[in-house]
């Protein structure tokens, strides 16, 4: 807080006359730094610093309790030979590959429909957005109850004569159940982002297209989708970053084990287990570095793909 007072006390009456202007500019430099200092400091301490620190830790063997010692690339080598690591990578990547496209398409369709002049738009927007503001922990517990062998979902399916599985207890269904939960939570949020983008598209474009004889689908695919690509890009990138770090739902629904049979172990859950179950900080740090690389590559690929598509327009 000292910075705020410091900035205040440096404000003497001043206005351009001679080199008073330059004095003011120099003082502004200091004030600018002081205003941003708390943010920069905290972001460095708890975001950038930790990211760099994990790179450092990835070259050491450490259990939090013993002395750390340098092991070079050993943590990475060990990690690459560990089946559980590859299972977690596969789970996270499959999760992202299913959830990101699905939630993007669902959000886009909902937004496009909601953008029509329909009654009760406010209510629908409220209903779709509500899951996104609710706690992931509480939602996970509600869905554990719904996914129960004798829960609401199977009760609903039994109406159609389908005998549903124990969704979270069956390794073939557990990850898909969490995917569904995730799509349910985030689609409404991204729908609101798309809605804002849709409102920026001028109505004349659609009128012109209609005069040229374009139907609903054509004007959606030739006007709406291309003009929304900035929103889509943002949503896909946020989706990738969010899904590749999925932790809460996996942790809660599997009681921290990543079970059944590691079918819900994600990279971040594995990192958590490396610290709190196995006492292997070095492995956890190496996995953190690899997660960063994965996110970076996925983001760059998305960027490249969108750029290329825009060039063709």
């Amino acid at each position: 807080m000292a910075s705020i007072e410091g900035a205040g006390s440096s404000s003497l009456p001043a206005f351009p006359k001679g080199n008073a202007f330059r004095r003011r500019a120099r003082r502004e430099l200091g004030v600018g730094y002081m205003f941003t200092l708390p943010s920069v400091l905290l972001l460095f301490l708890f975001t950038l610093g930790p990211a760099l620190y994990s790179l450092y830790l990835s070259f050491f063997s450490w259990s939090l309790l013993n002395h750390m010692h340098f092991v070079g690339w050993q943590n990475f080598v060990q990690l690459f030979q560990m089946p559980l690591f590859w299972i977690s990578v596969r789970n996270s990547v499959v999760f992202a590959l299913v959830v990101v496209p699905t939630q993007t398409v669902v959000a886009l369709l909902l937004a496009a429909i909601l953008n029509q002049n329909l009654p009760a738009r406010g209510f629908f927007r409220l209903a779709f957005f509500f899951p996104a503001v609710s706690s992931s922990a509480v939602i996970s517990i509600i869905f554990m109850w719904i996914y129960n062998k004798f829960g609401l979902l199977n009760g609903f399916l039994s109406v159609f004569g389908i005998v549903g599985p124990d969704w979270l207890g069956n390794p073939s269904f557990a990850l898909s159940s969490i995917m569904l939960l995730n799509i349910w939570t985030t689609s409404g949020y991204f729908m609101v982002v798309f809605l804002a983008g849709l409102q920026a598209i001028p109505a004349e474009m659609y009128e012109a297209a209609a005069i040229d004889g374009a139907g609903r689908w054509r004007s959606f695919s030739r006007i709406t989708v291309p003009l929304l690509s900035p929103s889509t890009f943002f949503i896909v990138v946020m989706g990738i970053v969010g899904t590749l770090q999925m932790f809460d739902q996996s942790f809660i629904m599997s009681q921290g084990t990543g079970g059944p049979l590691n079918s819900t172990t994600t990279i971040v859950l594995l990192i958590y287990q490396f610290i709190f179950s196995y006492g292997q900080v070095g492995y956890g740090a190496a996995a953190t570095v690899l997660l960063f690389l994965l996110i970076l590559l996925a983001t760059l690929a998305t960027n490249w793909w969108f750029k290329r598509k825009l060039d063709y327009l």
């Binding site: 975001t47 029509q116 629908f124 503001v133 609710s134 109850w145 943002f234 970053v241 809660i252 996110i295």
Partner: protein, 279 residues
């Protein structure tokens, strides 16, 4: 669409749209309705299969029982202390930085802006391990500080406030400058009052994020009297796995504060998404 307002196909399409939206809205609300329904049932009825929607009679005892069974009041207090502190911290720190990045010309400003925005690519989950070690080293485990300090600033918040301050007219600041106002006074008396709706949005987003945060309290709070509501409910679930009415009563209570905030301040939430969602 032109001149086709009353044709059959126009009406049919509208009916289909409304049908899709209604089904979607049902899908979104049913889980919450189901948790409310379960929370009002005795244990036996909650296990009925196929499921029964309407509890008869309404059994409110689950709420009173969990209130005494676990220190729920304490968890609510913890959540409130943490969320309010985090919100106040972000309002001050994010808006100071946002103001400087928008209004004060200083060397290195663009680099700083880019640097802060790029922190968005490093969400908390991915740095959980080093942050845990750092908090342990700073002695911030098992106290409120550990749940507050790491999230006192949000890159998204700085970005949001910068966008807001960019819209404040320069003339107002020039006039204040002639009057000899310093930057802190210009920030506090001129710029800040003009972005109050944005501050509301920021406050709601941060409060909600902190109230719902699960991972940070999980890392920091070992002792049950420091647990926040989401963490407490999850820990409770691991003990009373089979008593779903208790769990759903807890879930309903945990959702209530956010639901009320959301219903009252809906437009600020939506605004937050649309300003941060559109670069």
């Amino acid at each position: 669409m032109v001149g086709a307002r009353n044709t059959f196909s126009y009406r049919l399409v509208r009916v289909i749209y409304l049908l899709i939206l209604t089904l979607g809205a049902l899908a979104m609300l049913i889980p919450f309705a189901w948790s409310l329904s379960t929370s009002l049932k005795p244990l036996g009825e909650s296990m009925a299969y196929p499921p029964v929607w309407w509890p008869h009679p309404f059994d409110w005892s689950n709420f009173t029982v969990i209130w005494t069974m676990v220190p729920l009041a304490r968890w609510f207090l913890n959540s409130a202390i943490v969320a309010v502190s985090v919100t106040i911290g972000n309002l001050i720190i994010d808006s100071l930085a946002g103001y400087a990045l928008a209004r004060i010309p200083f060397r290195g400003r663009n680099v700083l802006h880019l640097g802060i925005v790029s922190m968005l690519m490093i969400p908390f989950q991915s740095v959980m391990l080093p942050v845990y070690i750092l908090l342990r080293w700073l002695g911030l485990l098992d106290n409120y500080g550990g749940m507050i300090v790491p999230v006192l600033v949000s890159a998204m918040g700085v970005f949001l406030m910068r966008q807001a301050f960019l819209t404040v007219p320069q003339e107002l600041e020039d006039a204040a400058m002639i009057d000899g106002a310093g930057r802190l006074r210009m920030f506090w008396q001129i710029a800040l009052p003009m972005v109050i709706p944005n501050l509301m949005t920021l406050a709601l987003m941060i409060f909600m994020g902190s109230w719902n945060n699960f991972l940070l309290p999980l890392l920091v709070a070992n002792r049950s009297h420091l647990w926040t509501v989401p963490l407490g409910i999850v820990m409770f679930q691991q003990e009373y796995f089979v008593n779903w009415p208790y769990l759903m009563a807890g879930s309903v209570l945990a959702t209530l504060p956010i639901a009320i905030l959301f219903l009252v301040f809906q437009r600020f939430f939506v605004r937050g998404v649309t300003t941060t969602g559109l670069k």
